[in-house]
Symmetry: C2
Subunit: 231 residues, 2 copies
DNA sequence: ACCGTATTTGAGGAAATCGTCAGAAATGGC
DNA sequence: GCCATTTCTGACGATTTCCTCAAATACGGT
């Protein structure tokens, strides 16, 4: 048993370090979401509630920090989407569900959303983004004959661009019904992918589980919304 | 005649002022295209080859300058697209031509292109962007029955997002054939807009005039590519 | 040619930002 | 409890950046 205790003890330090790093990343995400990327380092560390020197313990430049912040947000988004669609067979249904739920997330988790939008375009083709996942889904749909597109990559460009523009629209037009808009956009994308208008409409009328519950379930705590705790 | 001479003379000053402003905007566009938006003002003015103080004669903040730079690029792009489609009747053809040519512009005028991409997402719904123009075209297509979409705004979101993602893809993948990619993406967007696969493919196989010639014709000089003249 | 106005210019003091480093605090092993 | 190691911290000198302002230049009218 002393082994286990020792092992647990040995990791206290690492955890402390990881927490400091996480605090910095959270602060960076908040700033990224506000579009304020050229703030003094001191402001970042104060937002993260860590000492100014800690920044340099973890990152060399601001750009490096922001990069890590985006990557972290992407991993979260990717994990969530995976969890939500892992049991579904029909590729069109997988695609539609990812798309419809993503649209709704933009409203429910504006911070996560804005972080991704801030670097969005560059991420569509990037290795680390959600692009590869989407491309995989599109190709699967083509293989099973559910989709019908000449060039999967072109389809990815449209779908990726549409996903980003949808997120931006959800932010810019809070007066619009985000669920409705998400579903109409998804419908259009499915038509682009070769579904008939009827099929596309049908797939997009499926009732959806509550995004809030799904999020809570997939990632308890979410550590998103700025919650500095007691001042 | 002295009137005309006087009038011409009276504007010398204004022209000089306008030139200084234009030089600043060109420099800002170059920086925007390189993604370097947090450079010292001195670097901007040196790139523009004007005195450091001149910056403050024309703008209060860097952000203001960059905004003007984007707006200027948008006006150019808008004017060019208008000129290229003003004689065409079929809304699908107008749309396809705008889209296909826009894709090609990203390769031929990377700087203009990157300036727009740098603020792209925010511009889709914005008043000043190309969004209103696209929405107008979409609605026209719906009215004439050529397009068939439930909600024009959703269609705009997809088309706008696709246009931006296409531009980004053209930059990120110089090894791909930009014309081919543009045409395939356009085809997908047209399918989303309700055209049959056959119609969409047909509209996208029309031969196109050379982008280079069209650009030269629409806006002689273009004043884009950094051309500082003799050092 | 001369003067009033508009515009440009860059030097320079004020302010902001950086990034190091020595010491403090926490951790781990004994 | 004690020392070695890791991490955190913020004060401080060096550097960068800002932006005002007085002088220089170009222009327009007479």
């Amino acid at each position: 048993m002393s082994d286990a205790v020792a092992a647990a003890a040995r990791k206290r330090g690492e955890r402390r370090r990881a927490q400091t790093r996480a605090a910095l990343i959270r602060a960076a995400q908040q700033l990224l979401a506000e579009g304020r990327t050229s703030v003094p380092i001191l402001e970042i560390t104060e937002l993260a509630d860590v000492g100014m020197g800690s920044f340099y313990n973890h990152f060399d430049t601001k750009e490096e920090l922001f990069e890590a912040a985006v990557e972290s947000a992407l991993e979260l988004q990717g994990a969530v989407l995976d969890a939500w669609t892992k049991d579904i067979e029909d590729p069109a249904e997988v695609f539609a569900r990812s798309f419809r739920l993503t649209g709704r997330i933009h409203r429910v988790e504006p911070q996560l959303s804005r972080v991704i939008l801030s670097r969005g375009l560059e991420l569509i083709s990037s290795e680390h983004g959600l692009g590869p996942r989407a491309l995989r889904d599109i190709e699967r749909g083509c293989d099973t004959g559910r989709f019908n597109v000449a060039d999967p990559y072109s389809a990815l460009v449209i779908a990726g661009g549409a996903a980003l523009a949808l997120g931006q629209a959800v932010h810019d037009h809070p007066e619009r019904d985000d669920a409705e808009l998400s579903d109409r956009v998804t419908e259009g994308v499915l038509r682009m992918l070769g579904l008939t208008a009827e099929d596309a409409a049908a797939v997009c009328s499926t009732p959806l589980p509550s995004v809030t519950e799904l999020l809570e379930e997939a990632m308890p705590g979410l550590q998103q919304s700025a919650d500095p705790g007691p001042a």
